[in-house]
Amino acid sequence: MLRGETASKGWALNLTKAQAEAPMRLQLAYSNAIVVAPEASRLQLLINDSAVIDTPVRSADGVANIQVDIPAGLLRAGRNDISLRARQRHRTDCTIESTYELWSAINAAQTFISSSDPSAAKLTTVEDLRTISADGTGRATIAIVAPGMSQSDISADVLRLAQAIALHLPLPDLDFVIDSAPSPEQEDASLRVFFGTHDEIEALGVRLPSSSTGPVAAFAEGQSSVPTFVVSGRNRSEWLSALDEVLAPIDRAAGTRRDTVITEAWHLPNAPMVLGGRELTFRELGIRSESFSGRSFSTSFQFAVPSDFYADSYGEAQILLDAGYAANVLPGSLINVYVNGSIAVSMPLNDQRGAILEQLPLRMTMRHFKPGLNEVTIVANLQTAEDEACTAVGLSDETPRLAIFNSSRFVIPDFARIGQHPNLAALGGTGFPYTRLTEPLPIYLERNDAATLSVAADLMARVALSAGRSVPVTLTNSPDALRDQDAIFISSVNAIPAPVFSQVKLSEEARTFWVASHGGVPVEGDATQADAELWRQRIGQGAWLDNIGQWFERKFELSLSQLRFAPGSEKPFVPSQPAQLLVAQGVNPAGNGVWTLFTAPDAMMLTDGVSAITNLPNWSRLSGRLATLDSDEQTINALPAKEQSLVLTRPLTLNNFRLIIANWLSTNILSYSVLLIFACILLGIATSSLLSRIGRRR
């Protein structure tokens, strides 16, 4: 979906050598809003920076298909950059609001590249895994067939395999289906993986690649249309080494630094990992220098911060903007910067003569930064007198109003770094704290069957992608052994071991209440209380004291509830409809590790829920100590963590210590005042005592 007057999307497409060399045909299917003026709007598709398609946007009344032959030599083996750019203008309106009505939608199911050459479709080595792409709905289903599952416990190995496949296929929506035997449903998958001994796999009718004496990790000649990948060996140790072979090119040792977060499957360039004070030019962040002649300009970039980011309360980042705007831009026009969808700074463009902005600092709070991927969007709303008159509607006026240059810089200062338990945002962002483990991570499953394992595979694949490495796991069904360990619990609510409730501060009432609420039985809620609150707000607006409070809240984003000395205590949470899935985190009973619980009223909802929550857009919105996903599979409600324990993730330096304290005190506002006043009292007493000892006394 490309929205607004200017939009672009870029991603990487991986091709095998055979595919790159074969003649390829591109089909693009799109439709657009009826208000888009075709004569002033264009849609472009670029491959490796050459325009392959450049067309007016004129498909308001249905899906238009455009087919072109990709010029020979343009595609290359390995990574190819694809980008879509849209420039859209409104037919009848010149207001900024009207630009929100502009969209073009790409029909994914009918947009693909294809080749008439059958040999091009042939996949062979581990590297070719990258070329697997998602289906028309954007989802990639991966079927893992592990015949050995029925005889011995190889679940941990299967989970490891799922992570390995995921790291080769870093797609936003991966769905794993694990089974011990092939089934017809697997024919719809994007990839099928066979995992076991040669004998077991051959018994299923899979032809292993030529020389199958040792470990094998390669594509098999497929009998079906689904690419078939085989990881096998003559015995367990051999297929384990085959698994290692799959992992080797993409895994990362625990504790090594990560320079980028791989996003190329849906966003280019990959997001740089910012570990401390750092400056990034817009060029590095993939923003082009651009002149813009419309009303509402928008561009964005991604970056990542580590899991132990702890500067959400005090920190300020900066954009040093190189830009210019024309004299016809009216005062009141704005450049707004959004961080993860929340506004962070708004800069008025007030100079009536236009202006050249050189490295103009836009200071923005780091409140909305979160561990892992972050997106910064820069939006410029440009009003002009011509737009107010609106005479040349739909005509293309090419006089630029705004230019943004890629020499602009994004500056992040040194920030406090300390791990926080619990913090689901860190799990969602980088898989913290499980990515740092050297020991296998215990996973508690309600049952040890294929369906439950599929859920765990979905989850661990996503954790591995967030972490950028595979996390060794072990399965367990004894919560007592996990007292002093990190662990993940995946279970429907009725099967959760009792100690977990208290650790993640989930009320045991959830067992009855939540299930009942989904069973359609009407439940007593806090409706009256909520109503009262609503009424109080509506009526109370006239009150004098409230007005002052509201003014403070508006002006300083400061409310009475923030005036606290220390974090409050957590109350056990009771989920209810429409929450379908609940993710909760807490420290383990020994206090030295983190337990994360994934639960739902029943096994069905758990499967669907986990599959939905591991979808990247949902996954990256996890935060707080507890989050629920509603049955619409996109509404996430998070409960902020009050009691967090801070855990050192690196040796404490004085500067880091100072920044950590700054953040803690900026969160617990009154404590700062108390601390400083206390220090001043001591200092006053010491001064008094010192002054009566030095200098003259009478």
Partner: protein, 730 residues
């Protein structure tokens, strides 16, 4: 040992506080802190907590100021890439940092001022011999006679005290001047003063040439005398009877003592006090210095010589070859020199002299220019921070005293900074409206509170700003010129005895009206911009408010430069003293109700008083404080009011003989308590809020008065008259 330990603890606590202050906390946390700290300081103030509580309050205030400095330094300076913003922005920043730096220096000095000292009585047989120097340049003989008479009347054995009139107006050089009228005047003066001195029992001394101005004159006195101690009084500074009793005792106590300084108390208002009519109700400008700062300096053994009303040790002066004369403020310079040689000073916080200060705005500015230039010269030639022999606290104290005079720079910058935004649309201070509110407002409030904490009874809110502003306009060029040409300024004697015979604009008033007009236009423009550019109304509002404060100050200054007519140059002092009124053998019982150096108000308790008055010549007779004798002072009755059976007479003294000067001195100057009482009556702390409201009213009224004077002047009704000189200089 204990000292070192406490010092160490203090240093650790200070470092810890700085650590906490410099944490990069967010805006909300600072806002809450600001609110809480101000609330605590207000509470402590209302509860009148002193002692250690006072220091805690100051520590709190300092912490908030330091947080402002941290924020101001890290977040508000415009980027270097925008030079047009950066350069004025940096200047403004430096001006603010100077103010904060000076605040910290004064905090050090007045953290714990010494309490007033007890007098040190000395046994009669141990009393040292004292030479009293009264340097004069061109003051008239009547004024000198009062001062000399008061000096002679000091309570001290007559054989141990010698009073010297050091006349620089009758030097050989002057008497032989090529300018005949000058030469004649000098000769006449020479003769007249010699006679007067002879009558009063004072030694007259003059010299060949007027070299090295006042310092040279005093050194000439040193060369011709041999007392152990030297008391110095300016020609118009008449001492009380107890002056020597209160001061010489300290020299006995400390052989390394070179100075006992006492406050200067003035009988007449300075131009600000006169034109704003605050003399009777508000503490004088110099009371902050003599009431708090000198006591603070005294704690660090850094109280310095102020040119008059002090006793110095001859031994010390001999060591430094007399009074230093490199700078035009020889007093402070001499003190730096002697402090650096290991001599000590003492400050006695009790007014023991009464004198005059410049009455017209022009002379006032002339006097301040001399001080400012002299202090700059000391900074240049004796740089106290690196001067060998001074203790560290003394270095800090002298740096504070000299650097103070750089105030014209920041004051002018604060005045013009808002105009950069209002007229030129430059953003020299990058902050949002909210940040301004949280940081700048809390800083300004805490600054006012701290000033009030430190100087409350001695300096009312906004008065420092007013004095700084009215001086800055003319002092800035003076300070710049001494920086460029440090040896150029010469000692100019300040005229202190003018009286303003017509209401008129000061000859220095033009720039003030000009500045006021510019600020007024700026205020208009800022209002216009609030409406015409609503998208930046919040910043315009903040800057406009700042400009408005400047405008209020500038408006008040218009009143200062609009000189009010006033006949009497000195104020009347309330006394209650028995006397008799009459002549010949007929005397009526009466009381003296108030006195000034020119006359007295006498209440006579008799119905037939009129008859006496009608006869034209009469006198008052009263018991002298300086002995058992009584004095008879001839008077002329200028007016009379009948109140029941009593008559209230306004009398003018008719001084014809030397003794008459002694009687006047006895009436007016002898009693030290009356000066203390007069000061105490004005020393009232109106509080930050009360003081601010009062100042606003004052400023509003004075603005209108200034404009009225201007209109009258423009209509040509104004009869410009030069100030009349009566003859006192210092």
């Amino acid at each position: 040992m204990g000292k070192v330990f406490v010092g160490l603890v203090w240093a650790i606590l200070a470092a810890g506080t700085i650590f906490i202050v410099s944490l990069p906390i967010n805006l909300q946390t600072h806002l809450v802190l600001g609110g809480i700290v101000l609330a605590i300081m207000i509470t402590m103030k209302l509860l009148r907590l002193g002692g250690t509580w006072r220091l805690i309050a100051l520590a709190l205030g300092t912490a908030l100021v330091m947080r402002y400095v941290y924020w101001r330094t890290t977040s508000t300076i415009p980027p270097v890439s925008q030079l047009e913003n950066f350069i004025p922005g940096l200047l403004l920043y430096l001006a603010e940092m100077y103010s904060v730096f000076m605040l910290f220096l004064s905090l050090f000095i007045v953290a714990k001022p010494l309490p007033s000292r007890e007098a040190r009585p000395v046994a009669q047989e141990d009393l040292p011999r004292v030479d009293v120097f009264i340097p004069s340049y061109d003051e008239n003989s009547s004024l000198l006679a009062d001062t000399m008479a008061a000096a002679k009347a000091m309570d001290y054995p007559a054989d141990l005290v010698t009073v010297w009139l050091l006349d620089d107006g009758g030097t050989v050089q002057k008497r032989n001047s090529d300018d005949i009228p000058t030469a004649q005047a000098a000769q006449k003066r020479h003769v007249e003063l010699q006679q007067l001195c002879a009558d009063l029992g004072v030694n007259y001394l003059t010299r060949e040439r007027n070299e090295h101005a006042k310092a040279g004159n005093l050194n000439n006195g040193l060369a011709h005398s041999d007392g152990d101690l030297i008391a110095v009084f300016d020609a118009d500074h008449a001492p009380t009877r107890s002056f020597l009793q209160e001061t010489v005792g300290y020299f006995k106590e400390d052989p390394k003592l070179f100075l006992v300084q006492t406050p200067h108390f003035f009988l007449n208002p300075d131009p600000v006090e006169r034109n704003l009519r605050t003399f009777e109700k508000m503490p004088s400008e110099n009371e902050m210095f003599y009431g708090v700062i000198q006591r603070g300096l005294d704690k660090w053994n850094a109280s310095f010589f102020c040119g008059s009303a002090a006793v110095l040790s001859r031994a010390a002066l001999t060591e430094s070859n007399g009074f230093s004369g490199v700078s035009i403020t020889e007093d402070c310079e001499t003190a730096v020199e002697l402090h650096s040689r290991g001599w000590n000073s003492v400050y006695v916080d009790k007014p023991l002299i009464a004198g005059l200060q410049p009455a017209s705005f022009a002379s006032f500015i002339g006097q301040r220019s001399r001080w400012a230039q002299g202090m700059m010269q000391i900074l240049r030639f004796r740089f106290p921070l690196l001067k060998r022999g001074l203790t560290i606290p003394q270095r800090v104290c002298y740096m504070s005293s000299t650097l103070f005079w750089l105030f014209p720079f920041p004051r002018i910058i604060f005045l013009f900074a808002p105009l950069f935004y209002i007229f030129l649309d430059l953003q020299i201070f990058t902050a949002s409206g909210g940040e301004f509110f949280a940081y700048t407002l809390s800083y300004m409030t805490v600054n006012l509170m701290m000033q009030n904490y430190l100087y409350g009874r001695f300096r009312w809110p906004w008065i420092s700003e007013l004095y700084e502003y009215i001086q800055s306009v003319h002092l800035l060029p003076a300070v710049i010129s001494v920086m460029i040409n440090p040896r150029k300024p010469t000692f100019k004697v300040t005229a202190k005895d003018e009286s303003i015979s017509t209401s008129r604009l000061s000859e220095l008033s033009r720039p003030f009206f000009l500045i006021f007009a510019v600020l007024l236009v700026a205020a208009g423009v800022s209002i216009w911009r609030i409406y015409s550019e609503p998208w930046k109304a919040d910043v315009t509002l903040v800057v406009g408010t700042w400009n408005l404060l400047n405008l209020i100050l500038a408006g008040c200054a218009l009143g200062v430069v609009s000189e009010r007519r006033e006949w009497t140059s000195t104020r009347r002092i309330k006394v209650n003293r028995r006397c008799e009124f009459g002549h010949g053998d007929s005397w009526l019982p009466a009381t003296i109700e108030d006195v000034s150096v020119n006359g007295a108000r006498v209440r006579v308790y008799a119905a037939d008083t009129e008859k006496f008055v009608a006869q034209g010549e009469s006198a008052i007779r009263f018991q002298l404080l300086s002995g058992d004798a009584s004095g008879m002072l001839p008077i002329v009755v200028r007016n009379q009011i009948k109140e029941g059976d009593t008559f209230v007479l306004g009398c003018q003294y008719m001084r014809t003989a030397a003794d008459h000067h002694r009687y006047v001195a006895d009436l007016v100057f002898a009693n030290p308590e009356q000066w203390s009482q007069f000061q105490a009556a004005r020393r009232r702390n109106p509080g930050v809020v009360g003081g601010t409201i009062w100042f606003l009213q004052l400023a509003f009224y004075q603005t209108s008065r200034g404009i009225t004077y201007l209109i009258r002047y423009l209509r040509g009704n104004d009869r410009q008259a030069a100030p009349q000189q009566n003859g006192a200089k210092s």
